[in-house]
């Protein structure tokens, strides 16, 4: 009896198990296996030039200043761009969801539109917007007699410029999730709060925010993962420059893997990024549990 039950359970679980193994465990294990070899250009030419080198790629990585630059840039992008995306999308969600707002569907569509655009095409468009002389942003700044930075060429401005694109491109998606979360907040809670004399701010602070808790967790995890994997924007707009100021971890992985053909080393970068994303997700879940 027990064994038939177990067999049935296994049968029902098998699709999920197969999918997970093929699309998750196998690639992760293969990636790790690659990262403990020195697979490179010479190995492509002749497989006998492949060596098992244990954790040396990881050691080299931690000793490589470029890795730390990429790490810092990725954190910069995630820690500034992530919260900014969440804040902007929350504000947009509140505005779109407000009772006074008319044409809700229209605004929702407009704000969501950037999400469905093609990242590479948009990056090219933003490259023009950011052009130091002919870009519309600097033309506007010039008209207001404000300084006109060379957005993508200046080491100090390149990352903020890319963050701006990232936020513009991504906030619509999280906004939709927030709207769904907001619509799940029971109206009675607001009525009760109003009866207790709470103003707009206190309603937001003590009703809306706590009720959005699970939404925040989901949004936080999704945004963090997306932000830590940033690649296409700097790849199209700056190629990691100027002075490596927009070189991110995925960019570095790509460069090592497909420019220098150090596949083993690139796999090590990928694995470190995997661990970082895993850690970031865990931290967020712990924080939520405490609340």
């Amino acid at each position: 009896m027990k064994s038939t039950e177990a067999r049935a359970a296994l049968l029902f679980l098998s699709p999920a198990i197969v999918l997970l193994s093929v699309f998750f465990f196998a690639p992760v294990i293969a990636g790790f296996a690659l990262s403990i070899t020195d697979f490179d250009l010479y190995s492509i030419g002749d497989i006998h030039n492949l060596r098992f080198i244990a954790l040396r790629n990881y050691g080299d990585l931690l000793g490589n200043p470029i890795f730390w630059t990429a790490f810092a840039n990725t954190l910069y992008f995630a820690l500034v761009g992530g919260p900014l995306t969440v804040a902007v999308s929350l504000v947009a969600a509140l505005l779109v969801n407000a009772k006074l707002t008319r044409w809700k569907a229209l605004f929702r569509t407009i704000y969501f539109a950037p999400v469905v655009t093609t990242l590479v095409a948009v990056s090219v468009v933003f490259k023009y917007l950011y052009h130091p002389r002919f870009g519309i942003i600097n033309l506007a700044l010039g008209a207001l007699h404000l300084p006109q930075p060379d957005w993508l060429g200046d080491p100090h401005w390149a990352m903020p410029a890319i963050i701006l694109l990232g936020v513009w491109k991504g906030f619509g998606y999280t906004m939709i999730i927030f709207i769904a979360g907001l619509q799940n907040v029971p109206e009675e809670l607001y009525e009760a709060a109003r009866l207790d004399g709470a103003g707009m701010w206190r309603q937001f602070r003590h009703v809306t925010l706590p009720m959005l808790g699970p939404t925040f967790l989901f949004v936080g995890v999704v945004v963090a993962i997306g932000q830590l994997q940033i690649f296409a924007e700097p790849y199209v707009m700056t190629k990691g420059g100027p002075l490596n100021k927009t070189l991110t971890m995925v960019m570095m992985m790509y460069e090592q893997g497909f420019k220098f053909w150090r596949m083993g080393y690139a796999a090590a970068v990928a694995f470190v990024l995997f661990l970082i994303i895993g850690a970031a997700t865990l931290v967020q879940m712990r924080l939520r549990e405490k609340q």
Partner: protein, 454 residues
Amino acid sequence: MRGSWHVHRSLSSFAVRWRLRMTLTLALLVLLSCSSQTSDHRERLEFWALGSEGEAVASFIPEFERRNPDIHVVVQQIPWSAAHEKLVTAFVGEAMPDISQMGNTWMPEFVALNALDDLGPFVAASPVVKQADYFPGIWATNVAGSTLYGIPWYVDTRVLFYRSDVLAAVGFPHGPRTWAEWREAMQRIHDQKKCRWAILLPTNEYEPITMLALSNHSTLLTPDGTRGAFSQPPFAGAFAFYVDIFHKGWAPAVSNSEIANLYQQFAQGDFAMYITGPWNVGEFRKRLPPEMQDKWATAPLPASDASEPMGISMAGGGSLVVFRASQHKAAARKLIDFLSEPAQQVRFYELVGDLPARRTAWQSPLLANDKHFPAFRAQLERVAPIPKVPEWEQIATAIYDRGEAAARGTVPPAAALRQLDARADELLEKRRWMLAQARSRNAAVAQSRGGASR
């Protein structure tokens, strides 16, 4: 029983006939579609050409096909930014073209992949490609060990661009000829405040340091390409010269991206000298204001030692290579012959502005009577290849990185050179291992042969 048999048979014979008809029709269709694809029976030669060269070379093909009616060249134009990845991916996927243009700094990688065909026998038999007509430094970039893997198509090197009015005012109207003169010129420009800075050496370029080192007869790496030779006197001397330029305040420690408009700044006297390549001749002519046009000139790099005519610059440019896997090597070699003819080289210069690889082509009045290109012509006789190891690009990154640290004074030069050697040694570890493997294999082979003969 009989009737049913009959019916069955007629049915089956109908089926057979129907099937036959279908098969014939299909076969005819296949034949038709095939013949429409290969209506010309010419040999199909796939040629990958990059960037603007790829655009221009298409106009050379009709003449080649007219002369070789049995060859059809398919030019695949690939943007420079994607070319390197595409070539390596094509190699891994066994989808290589027959012949390709290749930046000569990429050659070592494709040699390591064992992807390129030995062109030595071709040159020995070629009526067109004569090694003596090529610049030795450029030719050398195409040779690995003693095997020739590419034929130079066009060349590229860097020389000194300078403000002739400023240099004349400090006593060097023809530009500095030696490092001593160079230093003196920079000192005077600085002291007399002729320009804001004497020279621009962008700190995110490895080329200036490398050219100074080549001029000072450094090999950059040890001759077998397994360790850095950066702490050795030739490189250390050049590095000291480089760092000193920044410490004396003759050059600003800025990167390329911090120079908003190079041409404007050169014209308004921000700096008097700049080391750059042939592509900037056209840009300087186009972008400098008209009144500046007779106030700039080019000169070969200064020599580190007064006994030499000039310094040594880097051998750059593009070559034509044939892939080992190609089934059309004879046709590919015909195309190389054609594109290597001096007349085609001159035409290529007219179309793209690429400098010809052959001395004969340089006799064209277009180049010989030019104001700015003769300096390149002179320099091309003294160019040297950068070390031919696939790891070079990463080592180059370390060179400018440590160069910048020393120029800014954050690391003493000697320490920077030690770090540079350490980084190069780390990157070249695999090469050392492979050489050791090859050596022990050879030793084993020799030993077993010795045993057999005994």
